[in-house]
């Protein structure tokens, strides 16, 4: 079974630029999560989708971050404009509806200069 796919793996941008990350979950997984992992910390949930609906986006900085999952499969996370403090690894995870185990992709390492 293929795992969670993410791209790009690495991205370097300057502050105030925009960036987008893509995630394709495990086939059949209805729930998709985006996490931010700052160096030296545990992952922090940004947003959770159930199919194409948002379940929880309470920790998403909505003034600059947005995410969508239009067809209930793959998802895009966007930052516009980026700040220095957005430098982090952005992890995507998915889980099967009704089950609790989340499976993570390799992440996108974002560096904002």
């Amino acid at each position: 079974e293929a795992g969670v796919a993410q791209s790009p793996r690495y991205k370097i941008i300057e502050k105030r630029q925009s960036v987008a990350f893509w995630c394709n979950p495990i086939s059949g997984h209805a729930t998709l999560y985006w996490y931010q992992q700052i160096l030296g910390q545990g992952p922090k949930l940004l947003i959770q989708f159930q199919n194409n609906g948002v379940v929880d986006d309470s920790q998403l900085p909505k003034d600059r971050f947005s995410a969508e999952r239009l067809k209930g499969v793959d998802s895009t996370l966007k930052i516009q404009p980026a700040k220095l403090e957005d430098s982090a690894v952005y992890l995507c995870a998915s889980s099967s509806a009704g089950l609790d185990t989340q499976y993570f992709g390799p992440g996108t390492r974002l560096t904002v200069l």
């Binding site: 949930l45 929880d56 992890l91 995870a93 609790d100 499976y103 390799p106 992440g107």
Partner: protein
């Protein structure tokens, strides 16, 4: 509010010795508890979980964890450490319907 604490930033153990990575949690009601491992430049890899039932949970690669409700702990253990176990370990907790909250991580160093 939910919280997870991993009191040790780093654990050092010699290869072949038993290892323990500590985790305590604060979750109201019945917690769902998880351990994940992260290797350099990789995402988190699921090791094991406790939802209900037997307090001793066995997982991947010979790891196990013991749920202790009275101490609100879920320590990760392995009887005999391998050098290849060296990685960053994360404990996570949630209650049904809530988001998953991660601890800050513990770096495990296994020396030959």
């Amino acid at each position: 509010a939910q919280s997870v604490a991993q009191p040790e930033d780093q654990v050092n153990v010699a290869e072949g010795n038993p290892l323990t990575v500590k985790c305590t949690y604060s979750v109201s009601g019945n917690p769902y508890l998880f351990w994940y491992v992260q290797y350099p430049n990789r995402g988190l890899q699921f090791l094991l979980k406790y939802i209900t039932g037997d307090n001793l949970v066995k997982g991947s690669y010979g790891f196990e964890a013991e749920f202790n409700k009275s101490q609100t702990s879920f320590h990760l253990k392995k009887p005999s450490a391998l050098v290849s176990d060296s990685a960053l370990y994360f404990c996570a907790a949630r209650k049904a319907g809530n988001m998953l909250t991660f601890g800050g991580g513990t770096r495990l160093m296994v020396k030959p």
